[in-house]
Symmetry: C2
Subunit: 352 residues, 2 copies
């Protein structure tokens, strides 16, 4: 039951669907046929040592990872690596509220955790792609949360980890910020407790949600330097309407809420009874912690306080006044810094 024309191969492909079967969920219940939408680039080498896994962020899909971060000559080079981009559960391409049938459709979709995604990806990686090692796991924002979860949960599989603009344990500030995003949507009478007919019924809520992303997603410096003009918009109002609202408005509200709930609760210390240092101490990957200088909700200080618990790690902040949404690739200098940092990381010798 896919009634939303946004989530298509035309918009986000090419990707392939892999049914990994029944996925037990950490919050209880299960997805009967958990299906992951996966885009791959390049090919496996003979000793299966060149696989890179890229999980996706809130609202993002494999397409933006392909467009911004993957290509010949880049760190994520399909001529050298087999790059696997997995769209997260709830993304709209993989199993998600909007594309499930009756008893798990829409508002009835179960709560999903970062750990559910990572276990689903582990199934994919080990049973479908038959891999036992990943040369690198790299992702931004919720992709960083999944990267940390991978490195803690499967320390013997992850040779290198690059969490960009994200944390291993979501902060309380970030939780409240995500709450405001959620409430922007759920407060719309058209949301109707998740039982709307089409995304357009929730236009006002999605618009407020986009405006909150405008405030927190970029940075005060972004606006002071009028970066919206460099991006081709003559006013902030136009930038909000066309870029921010335009980006989010076709998305399915329940899909966004599924991801937001998951984002709020990303926490590797669930493996160690709440002991973050112990959880991060399990990581054997060479880990580059890569926050963005002007990120307003995954700020460098929060990321650095986690980095110190990771044995083979380095703090590698990336400078950009575009803040968190520099992830979109709006700042060429940001993309270049990320690329150089990932190249440096990929050149290191793995510990495991």
């Amino acid at each position: 039951m896919n009634t939303n024309p946004y989530y298509t191969q035309e918009n986000h492909g090419p990707y392939e669907h892999y049914n990994i079967g029944k996925l037990e969920l950490e919050e209880g219940g299960y997805l009967e046929n958990c299906t992951l939408a996966v885009a791959t680039f390049g090919s496996l080498n003979s000793d299966l040592s060149n696989a890179i896994l890229v999980p996706t962020w809130y609202s993002g899909t494999s397409k933006i990872m392909e467009q911004v971060y993957i290509g010949p000559g880049k760190a994520l080079d399909p001529e050298k690596y087999f790059i696997i981009v997995v769209n997260q559960i709830g993304s709209g391409l993989s199993t998600s509220p909007h594309n499930q049938t009756a008893d798990q459709h829409g508002a009835c979709f179960p709560n999903i955790r970062i750990g559910d995604d990572v276990r689903a990806q582990h199934q994919l990686i080990t049973q479908i792609f038959k891999l036992s090692r990943l040369a690198l796991v790299v992702g931004g924002s919720m992709g960083a949360q999944q990267t940390y979860e991978w490195a803690v949960r499967y320390p013997d599989m992850v040779e290198r980890a690059a969490p960009i603009a994200g944390t291993a344990r979501n902060t309380e500030h970030d939780f409240v910020y995500a709450d405001t995003l959620i409430e922007a949507i759920t407060s719309d009478p058209g949301f109707n407790q998740g039982n709307y007919n089409v995304a357009e019924d929730v236009t006002d809520g999605l618009r407020r949600h986009a405006k909150l992303w405008t405030v927190m997603g970029w940075s005060t410096e972004f606006f002071r330097q009028q970066r919206h003009k460099a991006l081709g918009f003559d006013s902030v109002a136009t930038f909000i309407d066309q870029f921010m609202v335009g980006y989010f408005s076709p998305m399915d509200p329940n899909n966004l809420l599924c991801m937001a709930w998951k984002w709020q609760r990303g926490d590797v210390s669930r493996h160690t009874g709440g002991d973050l240092a112990a959880a991060l101490g399990r990581i054997r990957a060479i880990t580059y912690v890569m926050p963005i200088s002007h990120d307003m909700f995954f700020p460098p200080s929060d990321c650095q306080s986690e980095q110190k618990f990771i044995s083979h790690s380095a703090f590698k902040p990336i400078s950009s006044i575009d803040g968190h949404l520099a992830l979109f690739g709006t700042d060429a200098n940001f993309v270049e810094q990320v690329d150089l940092t990932l190249k440096e990381l990929l050149a290191t010798s793995a510990i495991i």
Copy 2:
């Protein structure tokens, strides 16, 4: 017509009401009997040279200025100075949507600009208090906006100016942030386009508004260091419920919206056809620009970019991880820094 029990002498007094008569408004129309609620401390000296004006911020009243910033031994010392704290229009104590009669009541209240407040205060200062000089104008946030407006509009009257955590021309980022506050309230069906019966009808909207203040009012570092615990709340959820929601929920929504609209449009360059440098060039006050290090919406960089246009000025950032709401006086070290900086400023010799 005051139907809101929050705005009383018991909660915010003592203050006196001064009717300054008819106030023409910059956006058109007028307030027939513009009444300012004013709290004074200390007494005028014989040569009328010791008056200090303190305008108030969004949602704040003269009471918090008294409690946090005024007292014997402090910079704002009633034993040395005659300190005049003027509650802004829309504050709930001065002329405001909730206390006006029929044709200007509630949603019918006209749009007010920072310049309207400052002209009303000018009437008060010159015609009621018979003063031609102010030793200092000092205010935080919207109080800083009014401070700048005073220094630009009446350069021969303001000897010293101390805008704390605010700008002379509101930034585009800040405008959008205030928009999210406004929409948190107006999106509540109980708001009913401003025609609610009591503030409680807008409980959900006021709650969302308080949560947005939680995200942007403090800082990521505030939460990382669990400052809410130092403030006496055992969890962030309790902190939000009791402190943030508790603070805002008794306030009148139309009053808040009146102030928010005004805040969004604070801009001294209205006097110079949009030329900010020219407007700030008019200032003759010795001006200490005092942003707060961790302020998420009046950040130091935005304040510093204005300071360079002011002739006799110094950039005096105040360090506090409490961010913008350090203004509340939650961080004793912040209050002390402000106090020392104001003492230093008051010890300078005026140019005019």
